[in-house]
């Protein structure tokens, strides 16, 4: 940490990348700009203003799980194209591109892990894979994570970042809502625990299914947690949106999440919960 060079002044308003979009390492909160290693060293939280940058699934697992404790499951699963879906480009092409750019087979990574030496099952979403959208394989992987947690008698920790159901698999994507809900219900019936960590953004079909069903719901600061996004609400209703509409802070105020946990405290917080749930009175 001490070697970090503060470049926030000289790089403030760093030149936009192509097409006027700000560089992904430029903080949308305060305009500070960072190198990748600087951000990684700070868990991708802006040291100046506390803005939480997105975290890729693999990196999230590194942040949460004990070193080398993660053993991935169902990594081989890949989506197919049940509807021969073609919008401006074929779905299969979008899938291939997402795999190339993320290095992941789908928008969710599941597997065994330990957090502060407490065994658990992890289900972590990757927003970079087609907006973290949930199609059949994401639903299948989540259901398998629940089953794996039940078999091993360990809690499930899910970390969500998703725009919702995947349009390209049509109605089959909608069916992932009841599928994942049933998986959580089976887990709960077997006495299992689920901790749901909602990162930015957890919206639509994922918010309206398993993400909302954890025994404890945690949110990252500033995360958008809404069934309908602000743009669509604005367009449909022409209502003036309140500040912080749909953000974690607003959800907290309205009673929809238990705690907002800054990322540097997330690992310790999840571990505390795992400990609390492990000593059941039964």
């Amino acid at each position: 940490m001490s070697e970090r060079i503060d470049v926030s002044i000289e790089h403030r308003h760093a030149p936009p990348e192509d097409g006027g979009r700000p560089h992904p390492n430029t903080c949308p909160g305060c305009g500070s700009h960072y190198r990748d290693d600087e951000l990684d060293a700070n868990l991708r939280v802006c040291p100046q203003c506390g803005h939480h940058f997105p975290v890729h699934a693999r990196e999230r697992i590194r942040q949460l799980a004990d070193n080398d404790s993660f053993a991935e499951e169902a990594a081989e699963l890949r989506s197919d194209d049940p509807l021969d879906f073609f919008d401006l480009r074929p779905y299969t092409e979008r899938l291939a591109e997402a795999e190339l750019s993320t290095g992941l087979g789908e928008a969710m990574v599941i597997g065994h892990a330990a957090i502060e030496e407490l065994p658990c099952e992890l289900a972590v979403m990757e927003f970079g894979f087609m907006g973290g959208s949930m199609g059949r394989i994401v639903g299948e992987k989540f259901a398998r994570a629940c089953e794996s947690a039940t078999e091993r008698g360990v809690p499930l920790v899910s970390v969500t970042a998703s725009g919702g159901a995947r349009m390209q698999e049509g109605i089959l994507s909608l069916m992932q809502l009841p599928k994942t809900v049933c998986a959580v219900e089976d887990l709960h019936d077997s006495g299992g625990t689920m901790i749901s960590v909602m990162a930015h953004p957890t919206t639509a079909g994922v918010l309206a299914s398993f993400a909302s069903l954890g025994d404890v719901l945690l949110a990252e600061p500033g995360a958008l947690l809404s069934f309908t996004g602000p743009r669509v609400v604005q367009q449909t209703t022409r209502e003036k949106l309140p500040d912080n509409f749909g953000r974690a802070e607003s959800n907290y105020r309205h009673g929809h999440v238990d705690q907002i946990v800054p990322r540097p405290e997330l690992r310790a917080t999840v571990a505390r919960l795992l400990r609390l749930f492990s000593s059941n009175g039964a």
């Binding site: 919008d87 089959l172 809502l177």
Partner: protein, 313 residues
């Protein structure tokens, strides 16, 4: 995919044909229904036909939940309010007698005229609406009444208050409740089965769909706006994600298609109600005598395996 569904129905057909007519007319109806389903599957609908379904599903004269309640249930007693915030008129819930037994019915309700449409928020539910449905379904579970849910919703309401009252969580919890019920649940999509707003009350033992209803992950306009960046391309979007009953059956998302009078349900509400009533009654009877725990285990397995890829089975 089409072949599989076709084979399944052909098999059902031949089995039914060889059965002695123990149950008289009911079985005749089943034969006729299967024959129609088969015809639908064999004839792949064109893009125009899919769009016609979208238009028929949204037809302003199409019978709504209360039109069916009036024709199918005796002694309807409507329940109001979620016991927390208010009474959402976009969702109706109540008790009634359906072919000799007490049932709980929940359904989405659009409005007929301008005033009623506004009062019922064009059928778009708030979390309070799901709260009311959940309360009614819990009542059914306590007393062992079957649940009928009729789905006809463009989508859950996308508004500030709805979000502040927890729209996403309400939809999740309503599904979770349905996954726990120990009484039979039969759902029929009777118009628009719009996304999360629809699945909130559609986690059922048996899911039916009227011939001209649609069941969608997102509205065709919404899909077009996102993927084509132009809501005007809704027709293309609909053709691409195939929301019609034939495709939903083929994909295994629904269990059967409920026939409508020629030209659509709006041409003859009485006949549409009779056909719907027969299908609902047959469906509820399927679960007679099943223990509650078995019922809900089967229900969860149904959704666990729905549309599963062959490689993951």
């Amino acid at each position: 995919m089409a072949r599989e569904a076709e084979l399944r129905i052909r098999e059902q057909l031949s089995r039914l044909r060889s059965l002695p007519l123990l149950r008289g007319a009911r079985l005749e109806g089943e034969l006729e229904r299967l024959q129609r389903q088969l015809e639908r599957i064999v004839a792949e609908p064109s893009d125009e036909e899919i769009w016609r379904s979208v238009e028929l599903a949204r037809n302003a004269d199409r019978p709504y939940t209360l039109d069916y309640v009036e024709r199918l249930l005796e002694d309807w007693f409507e329940l109001h309010g979620d016991r927390a915030h208010g009474d959402d008129a976009a969702v109706v819930a109540g008790l009634g007698r359906f072919r000799g037994r007490t049932v709980v019915l929940v359904g989405n309700q659009k409005g007929r005229d301008v005033k009623e449409r506004t009062d019922r928020n064009f059928g778009m539910a708030y979390p309070e609406g799901y709260g009311k449905a959940m309360r009614a379904m819990e009542l059914a579970n306590r007393h062992g009444f079957p649940v009928i849910s009729l789905v006809d919703i463009p989508g859950a309401y996308p508004g500030v208050t709805a979000e502040e009252h927890g729209q996403g969580g309400a939809i999740a919890r309503s599904q979770a409740l349905m996954a726990r019920l120990r009484v039979p649940i039969v759902t029929c999509i009777i118009g628009e089965g719009g996304s999360g707003g629809a699945i909130a009350t559609a986690l059922a033992d048996r899911v039916l769909m009227q011939e001209n209803a649609i069941y969608t992950v997102i509205s065709p306009e919404g899909c077009a706006a996102i993927l084509w960046r132009d809501a005007g391309e809704a027709q293309k979007a609909a053709a691409a994600f195939k929301p019609d009953a034939g495709h939903c059956l083929e994909l295994g998302v629904i269990d059967a298609i409920v026939a409508e009078p020629d030209g659509g349900a709006h041409t003859n509400a009485d006949e549409a109600a009779r056909l719907l009533g027969d299908a609902l009654a047959e469906s509820i009877e399927l679960f007679d005598g099943l223990a509650g725990d078995d019922l809900r285990r089967q229900r969860r397995v149904r959704f666990r395996t729905i549309g599963q890829l062959s490689t993951t089975a």
